[in-house]
Symmetry: C2
Subunit: 415 residues, 2 copies
């Protein structure tokens, strides 16, 4: 008997420590930048701060339909004692408002129109009354600046519109257009090599013989890398032999920024991967096992200055360890600032127990009840990809906790 | 004086009623389907339920390193009185396990190995003790099925893996690979025509003359359509004249599934859009104003059987009304089942007042404090795109509420 747990010979680390160990050895510069058209910029990460080169709007604009005027002319005005303004020509849309507004004068203006020289406010048409073609009565006082967007009020010239490391959303892209920036400098996507290992694995298009199963992880990782802003590179399958694994990892190190190996949940292949990654150091293997379920047999290595992750073979473990370790690595390479993570609060439908000493990630189905949102654990072995397919989110039982009781409030991280 | 509010002549509808009016007139069939490779399937929406054509795994597999055996042989075993099993050849990985396990026999098996005929469970190597090359002692009872994934336990042949209308995530793509499905039928993306209107609008690459401003909305809408799974079609700028707007809308109706007009926040252009969309009915304009801020001047029409949205001109109003009305329309065309919406709970940093009778959407910055998450309102006119750029989320003050007090718990919808 080897002891109560086959992994006792690993120095199993808590998740945060494992991450800290990787990032104490690995502090890369962000990747090279590339310029893309705005139409291709959604979800990309800015490579530099974007400074405004001009004021937006480039002139003071009305936010309402009404009359441009000098606010001081309306002070003290009321319905009983209106301020009368002499009207000049209407202010044209899309052209310069050139005629100066002198004291006692006004001009009809539409929403978005340019405030003419001399004017400092706009009265809404609803708070005015036409007297004749040339005169309007203003029925109350208007404050300076009222119903006006000042020049540069949206974006001031020389101010910072976006920091470096910002993930571009639709509004950010609109703001770049407002500045006339039809191209933007972003980080190139990190290239992520993907290798599945295992003598029993065949590509999905192959009919498996008895004892063989189809490769799941290359495909789920391809999509996970894409969703995280990376560029997946399929490196194919490797048999559970040091030479085969080494050749694939070396190919990945040559062309990619980091390499993902998946498979090898049994001791033999796990040892093969650890051996290969140790030989490809220094430093080689940094982390060999994390206090995490699913995902305990994770290997994290640094080979030729690039991270190599030996993800466990089970499909659920693969995606759990991707989220916890690979995604933060991609964020580092992209120089990406933290983005708020989507989570919902729900109540737990049934009690869950957990072994203390490991962080447990449990997949849940969300059920909207009359009494709020409930999280129903989707139980099943971590080898079952359908436990993820059936789930909408994940809850975490921290290291030190022994479980959660039914009805407890939990945070659900959306998948 | 025209009355207290220039929009009083609209029949302003609450958001839910406006949506209901659109969807009572507009009940399209989902769009045509197309087949895509798994590598292109992320975020696409299934066009049909995916039924399993085979069992996954196709044979019973071990989930641990250990010995395959007949559970009944171990009943009553203990450290003091182990069950002794005669070992045959090791079970090879990736090949059929052909040698039958007879009573009193066992075979060494690795994680992922195929359970041989006769065996119904696996004992972990840690709960066994080697006696000699040909004999192992099992130190405790093993239950039938223990440490085994049954044939079809992940996905059973003929069961439904995914429903129609499912938005594909990495795990779903992995599960399709497990079934050998390297291509999947999804809905084609809805084509969304985008038109910006306004005499003052110039394309972003043009240096605006006095009185002119650059087109923001075509670009933010392009990205919003892409993020929602649609295919944006840029139709260009239209002057505020019925003939120009009509020509662009007709071009959009010809090639697209729906059309977005933005701009025209002043009465004149708004009337032009309403006139054109009325003429292109029946039914033409269905909704003319919603009890919403920002976004009140929204027009929703149905022309030649296709939805046309007259979005307000202000950039923030455009994205707010997109989320509330255009996105659900795209979901309908995609036949997309509801996806949980990302939101966080936070406390409000300062009090907010709101006019009752309209639903108010307020942009907030998220601030992580020692005492939890705080939502800091980003105030500013709805014409200011930077209020969105500076925000991470939106909170909603419902129709009937007059405001929210500082410290109140709010739900923040992530941008």
């Amino acid at each position: 008997m080897r002891g109560g747990d086959s992994d006792l010979f690993f120095a199993v680390l808590p998740v945060a420590e494992a991450r800290a160990r990787l990032f104490s050895h690995y502090q890369p510069s962000p990747l090279a930048r590339e310029e893309v058209e705005l139409g291709q910029a959604l979800g990309r990460v800015t490579a530099e701060a974007v400074l405004a080169t001009e004021d937006v709007p480039p002139f003071a604009r009305s936010t309402v339909d009404g009359f441009a005027l000098r606010a001081a002319d309306t002070f003290g005005a009321s319905e009983g004692l209106p301020a009368f303004l002499a009207l000049g020509e209407d202010i044209p849309m899309g052209k310069a408002a050139e005629r100066k507004i002198a004291p006692g004068q006004g001009a009809r203006i539409a929403t978005g129109g340019m405030l003419p020289p001399g004017a400092d406010a706009v009265v809404m048409v609803e708070y005015s009354e036409p007297i004749d073609e040339k005169t309007v009565a203003v029925l109350g006082p208007v404050a300076p600046g009222e119903n006006v967007i000042r020049r540069g009020e949206d974006i001031a010239a020389h101010s910072q519109l976006l920091p470096a490391g910002h993930t571009l959303r639709p509004a950010d892209i609109g703001a770049l257009a407002a500045l006339g920036r039809t191209r933007v400098w972003v980080r190139r996507p990190p290239k992520v090599g993907i290798i599945s290992t295992g003598d029993e694995i065949v590509p999905p298009e192959v009919e498996p013989s008895p004892g063989q199963i189809r490769d799941i992880n290359s495909y789920s990782l391809w999509a996970a890398v894409t969703a995280a802003g990376g560029e997946p590179v399929y490196l194919g399958l490797a048999r559970d032999e040091a030479a085969a694994v080494r050749a694939k990892v070396l190919a990945g190190l040559k062309g990619c920024d980091l390499v993902l190996l998946s498979g090898g949940s049994s001791v033999g292949p796990r040892d093969v991967a650890a051996q290969v990654l140790t030989e490809l150091g220094p430093p080689g293997v940094l982390v060999h096992g994390v206090a995490l379920r699913p995902g305990k047999p994770l290997l994290i290595a640094l080979c030729q200055g690039k991270p190599v992750f030996g993800l466990p073979g089970h499909p659920v473990s693969v995606l759990t360890t991707f989220d916890l370790f690979v995604r933060p690595t991609l964020q580092l390479l992209l120089g990406q600032r933290p983005v708020p993570q989507a989570k919902l609060r729900a109540r737990l439908r049934r009690s869950l127990s957990s072994a203390p000493g490991r962080e447990e990630h449990i997949r849940v189905r969300l059920e909207e009840g009359k009494d709020g949102l409930w999280a129903q654990p989707v139980l099943g072995k971590s080898g079952l990809i359908t436990t993820l397919v059936a789930a909408q989110g994940t809850i975490i039982i921290p290291l030190e906790k022994e479980g959660l009781t039914a009805g407890a409030e939990v945070e659900v991280y959306l998948l």
